[in-house]
Structures are given as structure tokens and as C-alpha cells.
Point group: C2
Chain length 199, copies 2
């Protein structure tokens, strides 16, 4: 019925996500977004209405994309509970090194970056992140409860507290990675955190 798009909306969204992820919301201009996606301004505004809306969608996509494999790991009934947490840590470390610009520093995690840069003044972003937090805490509790049942998690602390702790550890690893920590350091942080699950 009319002229069709010459670009793939999801690819564009991915490119925008990468730009926000690597540079932050404020430091990414609409011009940057045009260059990152390869689209013109018109196409961007026609498709995504505003920079803020594009960010919202990019963040939502990031959360969706990242949570699938994490859920798979944490709900993997084949593995003991503690091993699921260990595998999650390993995945976190891998992503910190897989997704990188030319730079030697990690670009971190868009969710963490958003919490730090935007959560206080952007209620929509805060809501997305909070929803994701609840979801991930739930997944962690599942794995921790499994660990308690199968004897790999022996601490007396309740799964809720432990889930918060594991989640905080992941945040700390991501900040450490952005501060320049290498693979060995991240792995040792993860290993040490696991000690708290079987004291």
C-alpha cells in the first residue's frame, strides 16, 4: 500500500542499544544514533518517536535479550543449585569481555549503567529496571532453593537474602570490570562470593 522500509527495525534497535550501552544516555546524541543505526533522522523519529522512547525500547530489548540465557542457566534442573550460580557468574564474566568496543575497558551492563545514570530522574527506566530486578531475584531464589535441597548450598541464610547478595555481587563485578578489572579478577570475585553459600 505504500513505500516499505529499507531497514530492519530490530537491527536498528540493536545498534541503538549498543550506542546507549557503550556511551550512556546523555552522551549519546541523536546524531550518534543516526550513525550507529545507519538511518536518517526522519527514519529514526518516524520509527521510534523520540530519543527517550528509543532508549526505553533499547533498554527493554537489552533486558529481554539478556534474561533468556540467564533464566535457562538458573532453571537448569540438570545442574545442582550452586553450579547454576557458578555458571551464571561465568556467563557474566564472558559477556563483560564479549561485548566490548576497541577499548580495553568493559562497557558494563546497560541495566547497571541505567540504574546509575538515570534511575533517579527517569521513572520509566526505573520501572523497567525494577521489573527486571524482581525477575532476576526470583530466578536466583529458584536456583538457591534448589541448591539448598540438593545440598550444594549449605548456608543458613534465607534464599531471599542470598539472592540479593548474588545480585549485588554481579553488580560489583560489572562495576569492577568497568573500572578495568581483568578476567582473573572477576573470576576470583565470583569464586569468593560462592564461599558465602557454603560456610
Amino acid at each position: 500500500m505504500a513505500r516499505p522500509r529499507t531497514f530492519d527495525e530490530e537491527r536498528a534497535l540493536d545498534a541503538a542499544m549498543r550506542a546507549f550501552w557503550a556511551n550512556g544516555y546523555e552522551a549519546t546524541s541523536t546524531q550518534d544514533l543516526c550513525e550507529a543505526t545507519g538511518l536518517g533522522r526522519s527514519s529514526i523519529y518516524n520509527t521510534f518517536t523520540s530519543k527517550h522512547d528509543l532508549f526505553r525500547r533499547a533498554l527493554a530489548r537489552y533486558i529481554d535479550v539478556m534474561s533468556v540465557p540467564q533464566a535457562e542457566i538458573l532453571e537448569d534442573a540438570e545442574r545442582p543449585g550452586l553450579e547454576r550460580i557458578r555458571a551464571l557468574f561465568a556467563r557474566i564474566v564472558d559477556t563483560e569481555f564479549d561485548y566490548r568496543e576497541d577499548d580495553e575497558r568493559s562497557i558494563g551492563c546497560l541495566t547497571v549503567n541505567t540504574v546509575v545514570e538515570l534511575a533517579r530522574r527517569d521513572p520509566e527506566a526505573a520501572a523497567l529496571v525494577e521489573r527486571d530486578l524482581d525477575f532476576r531475584l526470583g530466578l536466583l531464589r529458584v536456583a538457591l532453593e534448589a541448591g539448598r535441597r540438593d545440598g550444594t548450598v549449605t548456608t543458613g541464610r534465607d534464599p531471599d537474602t542470598l539472592a540479593r547478595f548474588i545480585n549485588a555481587t554481579i553488580g560489583g563485578m560489572r562495576v569492577s570490570a568497568q573500572a578495568g578489572a581483568g578476567r582473573a579478577v572477576l573470576e576470583s570475585i565470583a569464586d569468593t562470593a560462592l564461599d558465602a553459600l557454603r560456610p
Copy 2:
């Protein structure tokens, strides 16, 4: 010999620090800095040369101000090693609640915020933060080694690894606070982390 200043440079720097801390570097305009400090543009540029330079000084001041009490805690020979770490955690929690805007969300830690927002593209800021990281890791090692000697830290992991872990935990607590965690949650994260020191 000439007209004297009508403002206190340190007070102005403090106000600017608070502004950057609460809102981030990019989202804080020079206009915001004028309002926060109560100074006119001329006074700001006359005293601090540029927004970036003002930020650099604000960050340096933040690091200085924060590290003094933390060093005191971690080097306090009266306390066993583990208790020093515990006291440090308690202080982190307190600061997350002491320094707050009207908001119900924490403004976090300027160092962490800087790592996340700026470290990748601002080498000066990155250098300040890295220097501070080395300093704090050193303090943590001191306390952890003391803990090993006095028997309160019983884990077999080496102090360097443990220092990284404790530091990451603090980062994770700060991100959690910015994501909306309350006092009880932060305290439980800290308590759980301590479990890793005496497995």
C-alpha cells in the same frame, strides 16, 4: 591588593560535588552549577577554568573526603580485622542514607557513578578513580591480613583476592541502593559477604 572573593572556594566545590554526584556529569549543566554553588558564571570560570576541571576537582575532593574515615576504620588496630570490614560496611550503608536528596533513592557513590558514566572516555577521571581503587584495595588488604593474624578471617583465599571481593561487594551495595534497596537489604548483603571471610 584587589577585590576579595565573597565566597568560600571549598564550599562552592562541595556544592558542585553534590550536584555532579546527584545528577551525573553530563546531566549537570553549568547553569545547574551556578545555582548549586550560588555563584555567577564569571566566578565559576574564574575559579575553576572549565566544567571538566571543576568536575575533576570535585571528584578529587570526594575521594579525599571519603577516604579519610574509611582509612581510619580499616587501620584501627583496636579492632579485629573482620570487625574493621564489618564497620566499613556499616559506614557504607550509613552514607547511602545520609547523603540523599528529597528523593527516596540513593545518589550512590560519586566514584562508582564516575566509573560507570565517564571512565571509558575521560582518562583523567579514570586515573583519579584508579588511584583511589589502589589505595582502597591496599587498606582492605591491611585489614584482611590483620584479620588473618588475629583469627577473625579464616578463609584460605589470599588477601588480594579478598580485597577485590570486598570492594566489589561495596560496589554492588551502592548499585543496589541506587536501584532502591533499603537499609535492611544492604545490611544483609554485607552480612552475607562477611560469611565468605570465614568459611
